[in-house]
């Protein structure tokens, strides 16, 4: 019951936003729906805790929620709620500044809820075809969000995002069909497309088809996740989209792509038993990490800089999942959650910074601490958190990945360690130039920032800090349940 409540709340939102015209009503209802959604999610989590079920099957086995999906759902509903809170003030401000029209605000909310709905479907899809449809739906829903401001740059970014991602994801569909084909001989057609049936009978799948299928799926969903040879759209899309949209893209869309990749990694590993999927993920993960951490050093645009940081982190995560041992998987999952929280906090904070300074250029952003201490401190904390500094959760994740690497491939650990240092140095440098020093007084007058706009980022960073110091046992249990999917029961 709660399961469907969570799934259908955004759908209700989609229907509601087709009628609502008033701006203040729209933003409030968006916030309200997202909050209800998250509250329902908490109820589901509580039920999960009392009856530790391994997974839930619904709707003639088409929908399926295990620990991995549960993590996705929790992140989606939580970040969906906090971003809705942020966009409450942000969108009203934009409306006042006439950057968007009322009609576009309606569009924004419509697509916001469609996006959340697609993500929830994707995280709970048992049918791998449905998974594809949902991720494609999420892509299509965000395309017009990226170009919300309708500036030539925004349209260009959205076009690149659109064309690269739909072509990429089309390849994933081909991979999905190949898997369906591989299962034709051993499973009956109605079950050959269900993930749990496939995982159960993975050994009977035709291995040569599975190899080809995984390569296509990897390229397809890897494009969506922003792995390096297919990452070109990502900095453009992140840097040109409005603050809340960038937060959604980096916090959620990246995760869902990675999630899809993981599902098929599990399947391929079960079927092939030769670690081909793992090797691919290690190579491309490391490539993304190294490339992005070097590129991070000469960025001039704050949003582009953070989008390269996203590529870098998705590289680490892919790498960690590719290593495949228990420590690596566990840290990878932990990393995924923490990164989603920090990155969405960062993009909301950057939205505030841009509101203060009217620029995205890093060299023009000076003395944030003096301009607005709250925003300044948030940015500093967020930068420390994303760089993986000790008290924050990401540090644990990084250490875990590093240790796992030492265990399996000590040489790769050298690259990884050096990379961490390079990233840390770059972020520290940017932090120093942006937060410290004296602001440029000759520039625009600095508008005040409503405190409510700071709450989402603060909340996220607080959770990250807490998770860095103390990991609740229930949280750990879910992580372990999810990790056991990879290792095999």
């Amino acid at each position: 019951m709660i399961f469907y409540a969570i799934l259908l709340t955004p759908l209700l939102g989609i229907i509601l936003f087709s009628f609502i015209r008033k701006a203040r009503w729209a933003v409030s209802i968006n916030l309200f729906i997202s909050t209800v959604n998250f509250i329902a999610m908490i109820l589901l989590l509580m039920r999960w805790q009392t009856t530790p079920s391994f997974f839930i099957l619904h709707a003639h086995e088409q929908l399926y929620l295990d620990a991995l999906g549960l993590i996705g759902w929790t992140l989606t509903t939580f970040i969906g709620m906090t971003t809705a809170l942020f966009s409450y003030g942000y969108m009203l401000q934009n409306l006042q500044e006439r950057r968007i029209t009322l009609k576009r605000l309606q569009l924004y909310h419509l697509f916001y809820q469609s996006f959340i709905f697609s993500l929830l479907i994707a995280f709970s899809a048992n049918n791998i075809g449905l998974l594809w449809v949902a991720i494609e739906g999420a892509t299509l829903a965000t395309v017009l969000l990226v170009s919300l401001y309708r500036t030539p740059e925004a349209i260009e970014a959205a076009w690149k995002y659109f064309i690269i991602c739909i072509v990429g994801i089309a390849l994933a569909l081909f991979g999905t069909i190949l898997i369906y084909f591989a299962a034709q001989t051993s499973l009956d057609p109605s079950h050959a497309i269900l993930w749990n049936a496939l995982a159960l009978h993975a050994k009977t799948l035709n291995p040569s088809i599975m190899i080809l299928a995984f390569v296509f799926l990897f390229v397809g969903y890897g494009t969506k996740a922003g792995l390096v040879p297919f990452h070109f759209w990502l900095p453009d899309a992140y840097s040109e989209s409005p603050g809340p949209v960038a937060a959604l893209l980096s916090g959620l869309l990246l995760n869902v792509a990675l999630y899809a990749l993981l599902r098929f990694q599990i399947l391929t590993n079960l079927s092939l038993q030769n670690g081909l999927a793992n090797h691919l993920m290690i190579v491309f993960g490391l490539l993304s990490f190294v490339f992005a951490s070097l590129t991070l050093h000469h960025q001039q645009n704050i949003k582009r800089m953070f989008s390269y940081s996203s590529i870098e982190h998705v590289g680490i995560m892919t790498f960690a999942f590719g290593l495949g041992n228990a420590v690596a998987i566990l840290s990878g999952l932990f990393y995924l959650i923490i990164h989603a929280l920090i990155k969405s906090a960062i993009f909301t904070t950057v939205g505030n910074v841009m509101h203060l300074t009217h620029t995205q250029k890093i060299e023009k952003i000076r003395g944030l601490l003096k301009l607005n201490p709250w925003v300044g401190w948030l940015l500093i904390v967020a930068l420390f958190a994303i760089a993986g500094a000790p008290p924050f959760g990401l540090f644990i994740g990084e250490v875990g990945v590093f240790l796992a690497t030492l265990q399996t491939d000590p040489y790769l650990a050298i690259i990884l360690g050096l990379g961490f240092l390079v990233v840390f140095a770059a972020l520290l440098r940017y932090m120093q130039s942006m937060a410290l020093g004296n602001p440029d007084k000759t520039a625009y007058p600095t508008p005040p920032i409503a405190k409510i706009n700071l709450v989402p980022a603060g909340l996220h960073l607080l959770i990250v800090l807490i998770l860095g110091l103390y990991i609740p046992s229930f949280f750990m249990q879910i992580l372990k349940q999810a990790a056991s999917l990879f290792i095999g029961q």
Binding site: V133, I155, E156, K160, V167, F174
Partner: protein
């Protein structure tokens, strides 16, 4: 002359139309060729629905393809491209589109590559399926080549639709189509995608005054904002 032979012939025609699409420069003829390709795809689906008579799904799919890809999408793209550009629209020459022979040579290499790739996954010795899988993969790859080499937004949309056709064909021959629910989901996504393409044509037209994606060069590494 059985149903398999017809499908084999149709698969060859699908590949051939993709080739023609690739070396054309005029948007109008590209759209016509695309419509032909979709018609062949629709026929292939129809033929498959006769092979397995109880499957009404495929018959329905064939109708859906006909309505969507043979009639609606070509009409829509033609309408948009005529509405948005005053002159007879044609793809301007980049280095590759101006050299159709070189382009088709690359295309042939891709076809051979996909034949080689799919050679290993022949589960049945059936001539038809081994040929058709390779052709489906080549159509997908050629669609990507089309997107890479052509510079007009409309040809990019066509490239995507070609890839989509290739994937549908793959599903058709490998697994006799996806389950109907998924099929509908995919069709819906494609419809939304093509409408988004339409929206983008308008946006591109207002923001850069043409449908030429070469003019999209504002965002680069280290651009000043």
């Amino acid at each position: 002359m059985n149903a398999n032979a017809i499908q084999l012939l149709l698969s060859a025609l699908l590949l051939l139309t993709t080739f023609i699409l690739l070396i054309q420069r005029r948007i109008d003829s590209m759209i016509y060729t695309y419509a032909w390709q979709s018609a062949f795809l629709s026929l292939a689906t129809l033929a498959a629905s006769f092979i397995t008579p109880y499957q009404w799904d495929l018959f329905f799919s064939a109708l859906l393809i006909f309505a969507l890809k043979v009639i609606f999408i070509p009409w829509f793209l033609r309408y948009l491209s005529h509405r948005l550009s005053s002159k007879n629209p044609s793809d301007n020459a980049t280095s590759l589109v101006a050299r159709p022979f070189l382009l088709s040579m690359i295309a042939s290499a891709l076809v051979l590559f996909s034949y080689n790739l799919t050679h290993s996954l022949r589960t049945s010795t059936q001539l038809f399926s081994s040929n058709a899988i390779a052709i489906a993969l080549s159509i997908i790859l050629l669609g990507m080549l089309l997107i890479i080499t052509h510079r007009k937004a409309v040809s990019h949309a066509l490239g995507f639709m070609v890839i989509e056709n290739g994937i549908f064909f793959a599903a058709l021959i490998l697994t006799r189509g996806m389950p109907m629910k998924i099929e509908l989901g995919i069709a819906f996504d494609v419809l939304v995608a093509i409408i988004l393409f339409g929206v983008f044509f308008f946006h591109l037209n207002t923001s850069i005054d043409s449908l030429d994606v070469d003019s999209l060069n504002r965002l680069r590494e280290g651009t000043e904002l």
